[in-house]
């Protein structure tokens, strides 16, 4: 099993990626091999200092790098030998089984959507965020930004994808799915959620529990929270800002400091495409890289994508 890592993506590349790889190799018991994609001249010296045993590592030299603020499609076209392009090429050719990057999010999305196929039956791939709860468990909120205008059917698909993720990755046996809304009763909300409610309620593929409100997101009512990507993105970034407020104000609270540090979760898989692709935050540091590698491993070990394919083609 080989996982490809874009070594040039993110604000602290490649040093933090190397540290994350080191942490992963020190703690993980698997035999997963890591393929480091990036500027070999910059990666090699960092590896030599940090890693004694490099038998599970290989480097694929990428002479070009897509910067964080480049236009996604232009950059992908103009830099065919960038680490992101090479990563998707390796993934498409099955030389790696998963691809991780904390680089240009737009380029990662475009690459995922066009280099790797969407799973048959899925209208719109989606990205999600982990939702911490005070009882120590985590849920999932999706979509958080790539589908800012949705149809009701899209929300059902997000609910199914989120449920499969919650079962296989978060180990929740019968995940409760809720629709994010501005009231609890059926009939509340905007036209989208009014139309989505009966579709979610009537689907045999999910355990739909009804609407929840903004105040319930970090509560324990639901395991999978579904919304269009506009609201989801605002919620995610607002929640991230609460972590920043906690740090700025020196609030000593484990729940806020640990569980609301979204950066530590690593990254989000692009659910709905045919291979595991994980996109990290630009500010990813070593623990985020380590967690993204572990997540890619778990996605492969749990056969999450096969289960998604089966679900959408049955």
């Amino acid at each position: 099993m080989k996982i490809g890592i874009d070594m040039m993506g993110g604000d602290f590349a490649p040093a933090e990626a190397v540290k994350g790889i080191q942490q992963f190799l020190e703690t993980a018991s698997s035999n997963t091999e890591l393929v480091l994609i990036g500027d070999e001249a910059r990666i090699r010296p960092l590896l030599d200092g940090a890693l004694k045993d490099s038998t599970r590592l290989s480097i694929v030299h990428a002479p070009e790098t897509i910067d964080m603020h480049e236009h996604p499609t232009k950059a992908l076209k103009n830099k065919p030998n960038s680490s992101i392009n090479l990563g998707f090429r390796l993934l498409a050719q099955e030389n790696i089984q998963a691809f991780i990057s904390a680089g240009n999010t737009g380029a990662m999305m475009v690459g995922a959507l066009y280099s790797i196929k969407t799973i048959e039956g899925i209208q719109r791939p989606t990205i999600s965020t982990t939702v911490p709860r005070q009882n120590g468990t985590t849920g999932i909120l999706l979509d958080v930004g790539i589908n800012s205008d949705c149809k009701p059917e899209n929300l059902l698909q997000f609910a199914i994808l989120g449920s499969l993720y919650a079962k296989n990755i978060l180990h929740i046996s019968n995940p409760r799915v809720a629709l994010l809304n501005i009231g609890e009763e059926e009939g509340k909300g905007n036209l989208l959620v009014q139309a989505a409610y009966p579709i979610l309620r009537d689907s045999p593929k999910i355990n739909f529990i009804g609407n929840i409100e903004g105040r319930d997101i970090f509560g324990e009512k639901a395991d999978v929270i579904v919304c269009e990507g506009f609201t989801g993105n605002v919620v995610l970034k607002l929640a991230e800002s609460f972590y920043d407020i906690a740090v700025t104000r020196n609030i000593q609270d484990d729940f806020l400091l640990k569980n609301f540090n979204f950066e530590s979760y690593g990254g989000t898989p692009v659910l709905g495409i045919a291979e595991p692709v994980i996109i990290g935050h630009g500010i990813s540091k070593a623990p985020a890289f380590k967690n993204m590698i572990s997540l890619a491993e778990l996605m492969l070990e749990s056969r999450l994508l096969d289960k998604i394919k089966e679900n959408f083609n049955s």
Copy 2:
């Protein structure tokens, strides 16, 4: 100047309303008279115990009460002598100059929209929330729930209403207006905000500074934050839940405990209708009632509604 107060609205009526009135009378230096609308047999004993000087108070007996969970339009129709119905009647007849209630929100909205006219030129009245910032100032976010599907022109009107509120009530001389979005650049976001951006940018009536993201809501970039009511309501309730988390976890932080206690802000005016109507949270206690009375007074003293009328008819 007479301000009408629904004494029967909210979970702690009428006791907390009486306490709030007491606090207002003790601290406010104005000559504002308060008209207490509700069940006289329940109000009178509370007043006799609490208030020595009752020259600035009068009671209008309302033999009926609309409960918190009644269907708004049915309740308004079936209970013509409810405190909410009487309040709007007094307001429409100019026997009071403002009306406050922490009662059934739906009934208050329906009453505001149908008993009191919308100001000419305003398509959709709006409700808002105060936004606390770490530097001690406050901003305003609107709409927070009554307009869950909007057109771009609605967002411009919210921006103008919010700006006038920020100027006259929050005393911000040239309020910076931002569009809540999922990216900073023009062109980001869903179809609504993409279409709203140029309309806001080109309006001479507001000081538009562009898009802000979820992480900026409780920052200091903007004074007036505009969005449709679905996202705004989710944001408001999510922010309220952070106060609950702070209390539950015994986080000793003034900013979270004081400024995020949204209940203490009192209520929201229904901006865009022709008379001051303020709707409070069902859990309103004395400080909320006091603050709602002060807000009504400030709305009258500042001639906010005249300024809104001038703005929309020029």
